[in-house]
């Protein structure tokens, strides 16, 4: 219990004094995870929607594969990306290893299946509702995807937030591909791992509380900006 109180007060002091290291790694956490979220959503939202409306022979297999990709262990993804980006690996010439870009790549791979799967399930229901009407109006497949995405945006927002939650709390993959370099690739989760490893539980816990507060705030801000809770509006 002592440790937890120590953690809370550590978090309090860090925030109140505007600790510059804390600010730096918090901004970097946001930068990496939000960028990964934007890229992953750009891929997953249209793909999940397309999968909901398109009928093709291996559709059931594709859906099953997508759902199981959600279970990809993040640390394994990190290891594979590491081997690909290492100088000894195929993409080494890009010099991306141990940079925030490598971390973003790993996180995009991890969260895209999650966002796509949730999107697919939501869009499948909405498509069942709109199916006859949109066909009757002779809409093109692109128009159908756009209409579904627009009208289903509340569910899509939930999918995106699920992806963000997975990204901001991830530590295994980004530790491997980022290297947890101070002032370069250290973020909240990897800093927590480091401080725990040093035995400094108070600081680790403090960072942990900051991370929780951050995740909650981002959720609240996104909801407020898209005004989804306003009465009667979608």
């Amino acid at each position: 219990m002592n440790d937890i109180w120590a953690g809370l007060s550590s978090a309090f002091w860090l925030v109140v004094t505007g600790d510059p290291d804390l600010i730096e790694i918090t901004l970097r956490s946001l930068q990496v995870s939000l960028t990964a979220l934007v890229i992953a959503s750009a891929i997953a939202l249209p793909f999940g929607t397309w999968l909901a409306i398109r009928r093709f022979r291996f559709r059931r297999t594709a859906i099953a594969v997508l759902n199981s990709l959600m279970g990809l262990p993040p640390v394994v993804v990190g290891l594979i990306v590491y081997l690909l980006l290492s100088r000894a690996g195929p993409f080494g010439v890009l010099g991306l290893l141990f940079t925030p870009t490598a971390m973003i790549i790993a996180q995009v791979i991890i969260i895209t299946p999650l966002i796509a799967s949730i999107t697919h399930q939501a869009m499948r229901d909405l498509w069942a509702e709109y199916h006859d009407l949109l066909i009757s109006l002779n809409t093109t497949p692109t128009r159908r995807i756009l209409t579904l995405i627009s009208d289903g945006r509340r569910a899509l927002l939930t999918a995106a937030l699920a992806g963000f939650g997975r990204a901001i709390g991830e530590v295994g993959a980004i530790m491997i591909v980022g290297g947890n370099i101070d002032h370069a690739t250290r973020v909240l989760t990897t800093a927590i791992a480091l401080e725990t490893g040093k035995g400094d539980f108070a600081l680790a816990l403090g960072l942990g509380f900051v991370l929780i507060a951050l995740a909650l705030s981002v959720n609240l801000i996104i909801h407020a900006l898209s005004r989804t809770e306003r009465e009667g509006r979608w």
């Binding site: 006859d132 066909i135 009757s136 002779n138 009208d151 509006r233």
Partner: protein, 238 residues
């Protein structure tokens, strides 16, 4: 000069699902003008008939041919479902959707939307979510949305089922007006009184086959088949 959509020929059309024949075979020609009412008991195949005609149902045999190529045919038709499908948007967005997807300029779309909203009495509700409307209001909206592109042919599947008298009256007025403007109408209904009020032509469907076809009101006064006679009598047909 634009080629008219009709006449339409249904030749040897049938629809079979999971071994059960839902419709057909149907051989029929729909002429250029008229208000055709499709009558029949539950399960007779009225919905399947309308969907087959409109292209929403895959045909097991036969074909529907129009006076224009198939890809243009559906563009000139509009369909109103028994349960109105509302997009999760405002009334305005719902009404304007068929025009917006054609790429019409916003001002033009708005003009049409406001005119139709006034006609169906939904002007105050224009910027409210369509899903919040009452049953009758939704169906009127669906009908206005169907008519906003001035289709050559309008198909309706029991649009007034579950509606109150006031709404039924409003919808029938809109349909009569559309008919008088030259829109070809094919409508399925349960309501014999409604059929008598609106039909210029009757199709009686039973167990997926057309048992009777003829002009109204003659068809009512002189039913040819025993099934239709029973139906008019109010008997339950099995």
């Amino acid at each position: 000069m634009v080629t008219p959509l009709l006449p339409a020929h249904m030749r040897d059309v049938s629809v079979t699902r999971r071994g059960k024949r839902l419709l057909g075979p149907v051989d029929l020609t729909l002429g250029k003008t008229g208000f055709t009412i499709l009558l029949g008991p539950n399960g007779a195949g009225k919905t399947t008939f309308l969907k087959a005609l409109h292209g929403l149902e895959r045909l097991s045999t036969g074909a529907v041919t129009w006076a224009v190529p198939d890809d243009l045919a559906r563009m000139r038709q509009a369909y109103v479902f028994q349960s109105p499908v509302m997009l999760r948007r405002s009334v305005r967005a719902n009404l304007g959707y068929p025009l917006a997807i054609l790429g019409q300029p916003k001002a033009q779309v708005n003009k049409a939307v406001e005119a139709w909203a006034a006609r169906i009495g939904l002007t105050p509700a224009l910027d409210r979510p369509a899903t919040g409307l009452s049953g009758g209001e939704k169906q009127k909206l669906a009908l206005a949305r169907a008519l906003i592109r001035t289709p050559e042919m309008l198909l309706l599947d029991e649009p007034c089922a579950n509606l109150d008298g006031r709404s039924v009256k409003d919808i029938e007025a809109l349909l009569q007006s559309a008919h008088q403007s030259g829109t070809r109408i094919v409508m399925a209904t349960h309501d014999l009184g409604q059929a008598r009020r609106l039909a210029t032509e009757i199709l009686f469907l039973f167990k997926g086959r057309i048992h009777e076809a003829g002009p109204a009101p003659d068809a009512f006064d002189a039913p040819q088949t025993p099934e239709f006679k029973s139906f008019l009598n109010g008997d339950i047909l099995i």
